[in-house]
């Protein structure tokens, strides 16, 4: 019996139809991860997919986030319910008694550190009051971030109320 081209074509079409209906586990995993990454709180969730069954693990900030991770995953095409949610909710961060000194004294070398830090950023000047570095000028958002990070690394308390956004 001759197998006609039509029959082969039909068989191929059926095979393609079947494979395109059911996403592969690796595809599902990528799609679930992408959906979760939309929200930074859910972005570090770990996803495993086996035969369409999704297992979530990792830490979540709170119960609401854990539930949101689960519903987000369940909504992805090809996921077989129920989603196995093994995520743990992080215990609240304990705030301690403040240790003796957490900010650096504004001595000459610390003041120099701050001055060094803003040297390459145009339009910014610094003055030092008793316990704070007072910054003034106009800065871009990116430079504002740099200044804040530099001050934090130097453990210097600062007044940035005079730091304006560069138009």
């Amino acid at each position: 019996m001759k197998i006609t081209k039509m029959t082969i074509a039909a068989a191929l079409m059926v095979a393609v139809a079947f494979t395109s209906c059911k996403p592969k586990d690796s595809e599902i995993k990528v799609n679930v991860e992408t959906a979760l990454k939309a929200d930074m709180k859910m972005a570090s969730t770990m996803v495993a997919v086996n035969d369409g069954v999704v297992t979530l693990s990792g830490e979540c900030t709170d119960a609401e986030c854990k539930a949101k991770c689960e519903s987000t995953a369940a909504g992805v095409k090809g996921v077989k319910p129920p989603v196995v949610n093994n995520m743990t909710v992080a215990a609240p961060v304990v705030v301690e008694q403040a240790p003796a000194s957490m900010t650096t004294e504004l001595d000459a070398s610390t003041q120099q550190k701050v001055k060094d830090g803003i040297k390459d950023i145009p339009g910014v000047t610094v003055e030092f009051s008793a316990d704070k570095a007072v910054l003034s000028g106009e800065v871009t958002a990116a430079n504002r971030m740099k200044i804040m990070q530099m001050l934090a690394a130097a453990k210097v308390q600062a007044d940035v109320s005079k730091l304006m956004d560069k138009k």
């Binding site: 830090g117 390459d120 690394a153 940035v160």
Partner: protein, 138 residues
């Protein structure tokens, strides 16, 4: 309690992103947060969150001193805007310049001397102190 609530999202995100030695304390109306982030990406994410929770970070009620995990021997990228980074004989801008590393060049971490100055070695073998603000662990 109010400060912990204001920055609750930041604190729990630090936890879930595995910031080690996370220490949080409130003193004189300022929340002090310190620890070591696993990567530059995590560090950037926490700073972006700070900026979101406190527009322009202008309130002055958070001191976030998170450094980025980098052990001796780690590769660091020079992140100056475009200029060279000076390598100096002592950890201050008064130190004599003993070498330079170009923007985007990789240097090796010898020691994190303090939060502002790190001792590094360039590919050319020059060793000295560079301003940590411009060094990014890979």
């Amino acid at each position: 309690m109010a400060l912990q609530d204001k920055y609750a999202e930041l604190l729990t995100t630090a936890q879930t992103h595995g910031v080690s030695n996370l220490s949080v304390a409130e003193k004189d109306g300022v929340l002090h947060v310190s620890g070591t982030a696993k990567s530059t990406a995590d560090y950037d994410a926490l700073w972006a969150l700070y900026s979101k929770l406190d527009p322009n970070m202008a309130s002055g009620d958070l001191m976030m001193n998170i450094d980025i995990k980098a052990d001796a021997g780690a590769q660091l990228k020079v992140t100056t805007d475009s200029t060279n980074l000076n390598i100096r004989s002592t950890p201050s801008t008064e130190g004599e310049i003993v070498g330079k590393a170009a923007h985007d060049e990789l240097v090796t971490l010898v020691e994190k001397t303090d939060d502002s100055w790190w001792k590094v070695r360039t590919a050319q073998g020059e060793e000295g102190y560079a301003y940590a603000q411009y060094l990014s662990p890979m």
